[in-house]
C-alpha cells in the first residue's frame, strides 16, 4: 500500500485528522492534527488492512520561525511506521507550538516509543502527555536547555567542567571533581538490593549503567541508564555539513562503521539523485560484508567471554585482526573506516587485496566449525543461553528490535532482501531466522546462533561479489553536495540490524536535521521488560546476546 492509499484509509476512518499530505517529499508525510494523533496511531496499528506494528522512529525537528517569514515556527514530531507483514509504511508528523510543545504519548501503543519520546523530550523539549516516566535520557538530569533546538547556546561550563577543549587546554586541566551527572539515586524498592551495574562494568560493553533491584541473584528489575557516551553527533552533523559528517558516522557504531557510512551515503545520494558506479557498489558490498563478519565476530566472541570463556573471544579477535588488516588495505583504517563517498568509495579495492580476502575466507570457513566445537556446542554454554530471555515475535516487533535480534525471534526480515539497496538483489543468500536450536524460539542462544549463521551468509555474498566484480571506476566526482529542501529516510542492514538515516535538507551545504536510527537503541528498551525474574548472570547473557553497543545508543 502506498502512502497515498494509507492516507485515503486514514481520512476515511478519522475524518479531519490529516491536515496535509506532503506527497512531493522523497518519503511522503501525513501531517496530522496533534490532538488526533493517538486516534490515528491506534487505527494505523490495529486496522487489519494496515497493521503498522513496527514504530521505526520517533524524532523531532525544530523549525523556528524565520525572521522574515510570517509563518509561525514550531516543532515537528515525526513518526515512522512500518508493517513487516504487509510491507508498507508511512510517516506521520504533527506540528507543535514551539513555546509549549505538548503531544500525547504513543508509548502505550508501541513500547519502543518510550525511549524515543524521552530522547525527544531531552533534546528538543517536547512534552509527551501521559508518558510513564518522561525524564531526560541522554543528557544529565540537571542539564539546562534542549540541545537540538536551533536557538540552543551551549553553556560554557557544567558544574565547573569546561565544555570546550580550548578551555581545558587553556586551564591546563579539567575540574577536580566531576559531579554525579546521572541520577542513580532513584528510590530503591523495599526489600530488594540496589546494585549499580556500570557504568564501568565488564559486561556492559561500553559505558552503560544498569540499575538493578535484586533479590539475591534474582532480578526484580534492571533499568538501563544511558547517555554516558552521548556526543551529539546529530547536532554535529547540522554543523559540519554533509561531507564532514561522514567520518562522524564512523563513531556512531564503531564495530559497523561501514554500515553507518553506507547509510549516510545512501541518504545523501538519494537527496542528490546521484548514481553510483557498479564497481563502487561491489566495493561497498565487499567492505560491508567483511565489516559485518568482523562485527559478528566481536559480538559472538564477547558473548562467550561474558559467560566466562575467554579463549573463543581471542580466537575471534584473531580472525577479526585479519579483516582489520584487509580493511586497512582497502580504506586505510582499522576501525573508523570513512570509506564511502557520495558517488562511490574513497579507494578502489586492488586485486591483491581481493586475493587476500579469498585466502582468508578459505582459512576462516573451517575455523567456524572449530569455533562451534570449542564453544557453540559446549553444554555449559548452551545451558547458559538456551531458554534465557525469550523474546516472542510480537514483542520483538513491538519493541522495535531489528536485525539478528528480530530474526532470532522468527521474523524473517532483512533489509538487504526486503527493502533492497545497493546491488544486494544480485546475490543469492538466505535470511537466517531463529530455529530454537536448544531451547525456545527467540532465546539468547537463537540470537547467538543467528549471528554465527549470518557470518556464513556473508561469506557466501563475499565469494559471489569477488567473482563478479566488474572493471570500472570506483567513484564519480560529485560536487560539494547542496541538496534542495527535502527529506529522506535511508536504511541499510547493519550488523545490529536496520541502520536508518533520516535526513532533512534545506538547500544548504548542511543538513537541517539528521537522525540516526540504530539497532542498539531499541534493543536497550526491551531489557527492562525482559529483566524481571532473570538471574544476574542471565542479564549478562542477555546484554551480550542483544549485541548492544554503547555509542550506538547514545550517538
Amino acid at each position: 500500500m502506498t502512502p497515498a492509499e494509507i492516507r485515503e484509509r486514514v481520512s476515511a476512518a478519522c475524518p479531519g485528522a490529516v491536515e496535509e499530505f506532503q506527497a512531493d517529499l522523497l518519503d511522503p508525510v501525513l501531517r496530522l492534527r496533534p490532538d488526533r494523533l493517538r486516534e490515528v496511531c491506534r487505527f494505523l496499528r490495529d486496522d487489519p488492512g494496515l497493521r503498522l506494528h513496527y514504530l521505526r522512529l520517533v524524532t523531532g525537528i525544530d523549525r523556528p520561525a524565520a525572521a522574515d517569514s510570517e509563518t509561525p515556527g514550531g516543532i515537528d514530531v515525526v513518526y515512522h511506521l512500518w508493517s513487516y507483514e504487509l510491507r508498507h509504511g508511512c510517516q506521520l508528523r504533527v506540528r507543535l507550538d514551539r513555546a509549549n510543545p505538548v503531544v500525547e504519548t504513543v508509548s502505550d501503543l508501541w513500547p519502543d516509543a518510550n525511549w524515543y519520546e524521552r530522547e525527544c523530550f531531552d533534546l528538543l523539549g517536547v512534552t509527551f502527555a501521559g508518558h510513564p516516566g518522561l525524564t531526560r535520557l541522554l543528557m544529565p538530569a540537571d542539564w539546562v536547555g534542549h540541545p537540538l533546538r536551533k536557538d540552543y547556546a551551549r553553556p560554557e561550563r557544567y558544574h565547573g567542567l569546561p565544555t570546550s577543549r580550548a578551555t581545558v587546554l587553556a586551564e591546563g586541566r579539567a575540574a577536580e571533581v566531576a559531579p554525579a551527572m546521572h541520577d542513580t539515586k532513584a528510590q530503591p524498592i523495599e526489600g530488594y538490593l540496589r546494585l549499580n551495574m556500570g557504568p564501568h562494568h565488564p559486561a556492559t560493553h561500553g559505558v552503560i549503567n544498569f540499575l538493578l533491584e535484586t533479590d539475591g541473584e534474582i532480578l526484580k528489575k534492571a533499568t538501563p541508564d544511558v547517555g554516558y557516551l552521548h556526543r551529539g553527533i546529530e547536532k554535529l552533523a547540522e554543523q559540519v555539513g554533509y561531507v564532514g559528517t561522514m567520518p562522524y558516522t564512523d563513531r556512531v557504531d564503531y564495530l559497523g562503521a561501514m554500515f553507518t557510512n553506507h547509510g549516510w551515503a545512501l541518504a545523501v545520494e538519494k537527496l542528490l539523485g546521484v548514481e553510483v558506479p557498479r564497481r563502487a557498489e561491489f566495493c561497498r558490498v565487499i567492505a560491508s560484508e567483511l565489516n559485518r563478519i568482523a562485527s559478528h565476530l566481536i559480538s559472538t566472541g564477547s558473548l562467550a567471554m561474558d559467560l566466562g570463556a575467554f579463549t573463543p573471544f581471542l580466537h575471534w579477535i584473531r580472525e577479526r585482526e585479519t579483516i582489520n588488516d584487509i580493511m586497512e588495505r582497502i580504506c586505510g583504517a582499522r576501525l573508523t573506516y570513512n570509506y564511502l563517498r557520495f558517488g562511490g568509495v574513497s579507494r578502489d579495492i586492488d586485486p591483491e587485496t581481493l586475493d587476500k580476502i579469498k585466502h582468508w575466507i578459505d582459512h576462516f570457513e573451517p575455523m567456524m566449525d572449530e569455533f562451534d566445537r570449542l564453544i557453540s556446542s559446549n553444554e555449559i554454554f548452551v545451558r547458559r543461553l538456551a531458554g534465557v530471555a525469550v523474546i516472542s515475535p510480537a514483542d520483538a516487533i513491538a519493541y522495535g528490535l531489528v536485525g539478528p535480534n528480530l530474526r532470532a525471534s522468527g521474523v524473517a526480515w532483512d533489509t538487504r532482501r526486503d527493502e533492497p539497496y545497493s546491488i544486494y538483489p544480485e546475490f543469492a543468500f538466505d535470511v537466517v531466522t531463529g530455529r530454537a536450536v536448544h531451547g525456545t524460539l527467540g532465546d539468547a542462544y537463537d540470537r547467538y546462533d543467528c549471528r554465527l549463521r549470518e557470518i556464513k551468509e556473508s561469506l557466501k555474498i563475499l565469494r559471489q561479489a569477488m567473482a563478479a566484480i566488474p572493471e570500472g571506476e570506483a567513484r564519480v566526482k560529485v560536487p560539494r553536495p547542496k541538496p534542495a529542501a527535502n527529506e529522506v529516510y535511508a536504511r541499510v542492514e547493519g550488523p545490529r540490524g536496520e541502520c536508518g538515516f533520516y535526513v532533512v535538507s534545506d538547500g544548504t551545504e548542511k543538513p537541517y536535521r539528521a537522525r540516526f536510527r540504530t539497532g542498539s537503541f531499541t534493543a536497550m528498551t526491551i531489557i527492562e521488560h525482559l529483566s524481571p525474574g532473570l538471574m544476574l548472570a542471565d542479564l549478562v547473557a542477555l546484554i551480550g546476546s542483544l549485541d548492544v553497543i554503547a555509542p550506538e545508543i547514545d550517538r
Partner: protein, 214 residues
C-alpha cells in the same frame, strides 16, 4: 511472518539426566582437543614494539591513514584541506610580501583534534598533505600534539606550476620531531630511512634543505 511457536517437548527425565552427562563430557572433551591443538599452532601476535621483524610502520599498507604531514615545498596554501576538515584541526596562515610572493606564517596540524578521516588529504590537489604510516604519537602534554610544519621564517608558498617532487612520506615528520615514535625501539634495525638520501629538492626557496632525512 510471525511464526507459530511449537510447545516445548518434555523429554524422558532419565534419558535427559544421562543425556546431560554425556553431552557435558563429550562437549568438554571436544573443546579441550581444540584448545590442545592450539599448543601446536603458531601464535598470531607479534611482540610490539621491540621484537618485531621490521618496524610496525613498515608492515602497514601504503594506504594507512597515520599522522598527517605536509610537504610545504608543494603546498600552494589553497586552504582546501583546512576547509574540508570537519574539526578544523589544520590552521594555515600566510602573509603577503610587497613583491607578490606569499610566505607561510603557520601550518599547524593539531593531532589531538585530528580524527584521521583522510578527507583533507583527499582534498589536496598537489599531493602536499598526506597521511604517513606513523602512528606512535604519544607525547607528554596536549600542546605537543600540535605539529608545526613551518620550521623557519620566510618559507615561501609554492606555485602550482613548478612543484618539486614529493618527498618520501614520513621523512618530513621524522625530521620535524626527532625520535617521534622511535623512542622505545631498542633493537632498531640498522636500515636507512625509506629514501636513499634524496637529492635536495630544487625547491622554490633555494638549495638548502635543512631537514634532510634524519
Amino acid at each position: 511472518m510471525v511464526p507459530a511457536v511449537p510447545p516445548p517437548v518434555r523429554p524422558n527425565p532419565v534419558r535427559a539426566y544421562f543425556g546431560n552427562i554425556r553431552r557435558a563430557v563429550s562437549s568438554t572433551f571436544e573443546g579441550m582437543t581444540v584448545t590442545m591443538s592450539w599448543l601446536f599452532r603458531r601464535p598470531s601476535t607479534i611482540q610490539y614494539p621491540d621484537r618485531t621483524e621490521k618496524p610496525v610502520r613498515e608492515m602497514l599498507p601504503e594506504t594507512y591513514r597515520g599522522l598527517l604531514e605536509v610537504d610545504l615545498s608543494r603546498c600552494t596554501a589553497c586552504l582546501l584541506c583546512a576547509k574540508t576538515c570537519p574539526l578544523g584541526c589544520i590552521s594555515i596562515e600566510t602573509c603577503k610580501h610587497p613583491d607578490g610572493a606569499r610566505e607561510f606564517q603557520t601550518f599547524d596540524i593539531d593531532n589531538g583534534l585530528c580524527m584521521f578521516c583522510g578527507l583533507c588529504a583527499e582534498a589536496c590537489n598537489f599531493d602536499a598533505l598526506a597521511h604517513t604510516r606513523e602512528f606512535e604519537a604519544s607525547v607528554s602534554s596536549a600542546e605537543q600534539l600540535t605539529v608545526r610544519f613551518v620550521d623557519r621564517p620566510g618559507r615561501l608558498v609554492a606555485k602550482a606550476k613548478d612543484l618539486p617532487p614529493r618527498r618520501p612520506r614520513g621523512s618530513i615528520l621524522a625530521a620535524l620531531i626527532p625520535g617521534f615514535g622511535r623512542r622505545r625501539r631498542r633493537a632498531a634495525p640498522p636500515e636507512p630511512p625509506a629514501s636513499p638520501a634524496p637529492a635536495p629538492a630544487a625547491g622554490a626557496e633555494g638549495p638548502e634543505n635543512p631537514e634532510g632525512t634524519a
